[in-house]
Subunit: 412 residues, 2 copies
């Protein structure tokens, strides 16, 4: 008898039949004697429909009012799922973000969870009810309706699991779990049984879409065991858990990639304090998120600065950077909007040397030129030409032996 939080996304509750399927799955866990809290998203397409309605009224809809409207999507889902569970002869009760009291700050459309007072949810469980919580939404101290941003339902689920001290937070999705890399590119990609929070964080932020990044951070901070699994079958998925000694033996756990990158280089920038701040400050003002930044060592008091941005922001960024470069007397601005980033991720890197070198060697063998390199404790990322992205992923997947058994210390 465990306490389980289950999260179902918009596709899983996309129509009446699917809602009934989710209800069946929930009641199976209930019938097995578990206490169940369910977090649901809006029915697939509903959030987009509401956003489009808002944009028909106003090009820049007020974010407070947008949250008022968007929160209705999940409110409909929780009511329908509760009815569906009741129709199967079980007890259920729905809760909006405001009713659960998922307390957030007042940053509308991207609010942060401050605390959860799960008293009503606990009471529902004590009463033998399935508690159904609206994902993606919360309430500010001023009783304003807030939303948590895209993918926010994952965060709701993890935060609820932390609040009620659940044994596990199950994230139901349309894939079987977290893979060593994208199976669409590498057919022999292997489903991981376990992955550490830190690795999952890197994988998530590097482009693997199974879990929202902030939900992984939250799970890590509160030690919530997360089980990413398919809503279409009963196979065990991937457990996202605290790092342990066994994990460190695996040098590289996965290969992530992002094809939607663009690279910009400013050459011969005067190497004096404040220059980088001036450049990236202006880019940030335009709400453009800079990913990787590389600055070469200074020569004759000048340096080159390279960085990457999402490809969608390339044109706008170039415009800004050209203006700033002129002001600061830099030589040239060179742009390339056809770049990709491939990364190897693994906590084993902390204790193993030569991992980066093995990556460069594998890419070099295929004559894939590395334009930029960036490393952290548990990942190495390379910017390459976009057209080589898939090839690079396959080569790295092979080089680190991810297709068969994981490469461990012993196996080397």
């Amino acid at each position: 008898m465990a306490l389980i939080v289950q999260k179902y996304g918009g596709t899983s509750v996309g129509d009446v039949d699917r809602i009934t399927n989710v209800a069946r799955r929930v009641t199976e866990a209930r019938a097995a004697g578990h206490d169940v809290v369910v977090v649901v998203s809006a029915m697939a397409g509903e959030t987009d429909r509401l956003i489009s309605l808002a944009h028909k009224i106003s090009e820049q809809p007020d974010e407070r009012e947008l949250d008022v409207i968007l929160a209705t999507g999940e409110q409909v889902s929780i009511g329908l799922l509760s009815m569906a569970i009741q129709a199967l002869g079980f007890r259920a009760r729905s809760f909006t973000g405001s009713q659960v009291r998922i307390q957030t700050d007042d940053a509308h459309t991207k609010a942060r969870i401050l605390s959860i007072d799960a008293e009503r949810v606990r009471q529902a469980l004590t009463d033998g009810e399935v508690a159904i919580v609206a994902g993606f939404q919360g309430v500010s101290a001023e009783e304003e309706i807030t939303t948590l941003g895209r993918g926010g339902s994952d965060l709701t689920a993890v935060a609820m699991a932390a609040a009620v001290a659940a044994d596990v937070c199950e994230i139901y999705t349309d894939v079987n779990g977290v893979y060593t890399t994208d199976p669409n590119i590498v057919p022999e990609a292997r489903k991981l049984d376990r992955i550490s929070y830190d690795e999952m964080l890197e994988m998530a932020s590097l482009g693997a879409k199974v879990l929202q990044t902030r939900s992984v951070e939250y799970a890590k901070n509160y030690g919530v065991p997360v089980h990413v699994r398919s809503s279409f079958n009963y196979n065990p998925g991937t457990m996202v858990v605290k790092e342990d000694a066994a994990m460190e033996k695996v040098v590289v756990s996965g290969i992530a990639y992002n094809k939607q990158e663009a690279k910009i280089t400013v050459t011969r920038v005067a190497d004096r304090p404040g220059i980088a701040a001036a450049l990236f400050g202006r880019v940030a003002e335009a709400n453009i998120v800079v990913d990787m930044i590389v600055q070469n060592i200074s020569q004759d008091g000048f340096t080159d600065i390279s960085f990457t941005v999402p490809r969608a922001d390339y044109a706008k960024t170039m415009e800004i950077v050209k203006a700033v470069a002129k002001e600061m007397g830099a030589d040239k601005v060179i742009g390339d909007d056809k770049t990709a980033k491939v990364s190897i991720v693994g906590v084993g890197m902390r204790t193993h040397s030569g991992v980066a070198a093995r990556m460069f060697e594998a890419l070099g063998k295929e004559k894939i030129n590395i334009m930029m390199i960036s490393t952290s404790e548990i990942k190495v990322s390379c910017v390459i030409e976009a057209k080589y992205a898939e090839l690079a992923v396959r080569v790295l997947h092979e080089a680190f032996g991810l297709g068969g058994q994981p490469v461990t210390e012993e196996a080397k």
Copy 2:
């Protein structure tokens, strides 16, 4: 500079263009220097869509969960209208029933308003904002989402007007106001400039659909002046106000009718205490609302009881009544599902005699047989054959001179 509550129904906010039109109307009042609170319904069709979704999941959806779902309709409307008003350069802020704190009992799908804490709405007005309140919904003491039943937005508007002590509650609709009778039947029907709460109550409950009955009761209890007017033009509509001396001079203010009635008679019922209670108790258990009841004087210890019910409930009622009649040893049950009720309404009846007689005479002249009669202080209703309904309305409209100038004491 007045404080105005405006209420717009689902048709008025049925699509993006109409919402923008409502926004324009609201901002005109604002630009004229008035403080404005707006109450809106769900976009036309939305409530039905949500009900149908719920019924696809469950034949008898849980009423608590139904309220959770239904309340989203108005929540979308308030957000969109707020955005539309902001797009016109005015300040606006939306409020759900829970945020305003429209406190209700916990009778889901038909909750009663207990109190309104309009502090946040007052603050919004002080801040120079248009306050936009979701109609039809409230919140129970246990923070449950409740709804007020069909037409509940009228009630929200009147209750809000009472709570903020508004100068007037404007109910915007698709007709020009309250008419002496249905203009579809009597083309010369005249729009009333003023009507008393009691007359409006009778007109509303007798089938005139411009205002929900409970909202009129609420307006009467709190002395809220209600202005029923068209959202398609700027003509003054009908003021629903406290009775005054001038009104009493008008003998009959309007003719109401209801064609969806059925009549049932139980003959030779033993005339002893508890018999009526037994009969109507069983009918009430089936959630059938009995309208008119007439019991003839007793002869030889037996009596006949006649009553009317909505035509939709006729078959079910006949079944119940036949069973009860058998148990109590009554003679026969006679049903007629082709009846209508026509009524004359006017506070002037209190001080004028012969009004009923004039009604019977007018109907008699056209050989319209009166099957049942029921009277109150300010109305006389007759049940007649349904096929004569329109004729009866025209005849009575003519007999009481409603087409031209109202018949007053002096004019008689």
